[in-house]
Symmetry: C2
Subunit: 150 residues, 2 copies
DNA sequence: CAATCTAATGCTACAATGTTGCATCAAAAC
DNA sequence: GTTTTGATGCAACATTGTAGCATTAGATTG
């Protein structure tokens, strides 16, 4: 990784601002998530760290992600499969939907689709809403319809 | 399928109508799901079969559920945890939302909340939408707030 | 800078959820 | 009753996530 910090160490600042220790794993995880256009699974993040030459343990990565979620820096989304996916939270506005492509398995963010919170039965307290649309993404949809390579 | 299910013993008919073999496991699974007010996990269904004295294997249960989903008799929802939950599909209208209580872990159906399907980017094909609301249910919400028994 | 304090890490082991392969069984057909 | 083949049951494995604990290394203090 050639000199890592263009927008000077904002990952470091984020971590420090939350009272956590600035470690290479946390920095790399945050930067990986920030660079990604879509939510990443634990596995994908691990691969990114490997690619970046950042040594890490599977458990450490789980714990780093847990901490980020706990601190509100990142958020977890349930995707289609049983593995969590993670994305950086920007400006507290976690009110966008996600699209899960059932062909390529990818998850993309739909920024302009607000997850409408409807009226709940009495006594229910809403904390957050998750709207996940399933189907075929632009790449797999029409293109994949004729080929269906799999 | 024009009205595949006359009221009583409909589990057998449902299975036969889809060209499957009528086995005790499938019957019991369908009846368990039909009787339940909310989606059940694999584990809960297994417990119900045990309680009913229906011998079964873990794998058989997974396969029975897979088959039901494949046939469109049941549907899978992603809940909050990594385990699937299953519910019977009634009238093809799988357009209701679910509420996941983060205190008791229960999932309840919100029949009156349509999962609005918004406009997608070009090329995306929507197959189904899943709206899951997270928070505290009526039982855990206010009552649990003071006690938080756990 | 060295000493210290303790949050994070990296093991190892384990738990939960699901899947695959294959021999056997039994539901449906003959 | 016999045959056919879908469904089952078992064992073994895969994936995803957690718990306990000794060790390492960020931060702090002197």
């Amino acid at each position: 990784m050639p000199h890592a910090a263009p927008a000077a160490g904002s990952a470091r600042d984020l971590i420090a601002a939350h009272g956590g220790r600035v470690t290479r794993t946390r920095i790399a995880v945050i930067e990986t998530l920030q660079r990604s256009a879509h939510p990443l699974s634990h596995d994908e993040i691990g691969a990114a760290l490997d690619a970046a030459g950042i040594a890490h343990d599977r458990v450490t990565l789980y714990r780093a992600l847990d901490w980020l979620v706990e601190q509100g820096i990142a958020q977890r989304i349930a995707g289609g499969e049983r593995a969590w996916r993670f994305e950086i939270r920007v400006g507290g506005a976690h009110r966008h939907a996600h699209f899960h492509c059932e062909r390529c398995g990818q998850i993309v963010c739909l920024e302009d689709v607000p997850a409408a919170a409807p009226h709940l039965p009495a006594g229910f307290e809403l904390e957050r809403a998750e709207l996940v649309l399933h189907g075929a993404c632009a790449d797999c949809g029409r293109a994949g319809a004729k080929e269906r390579g799999r």
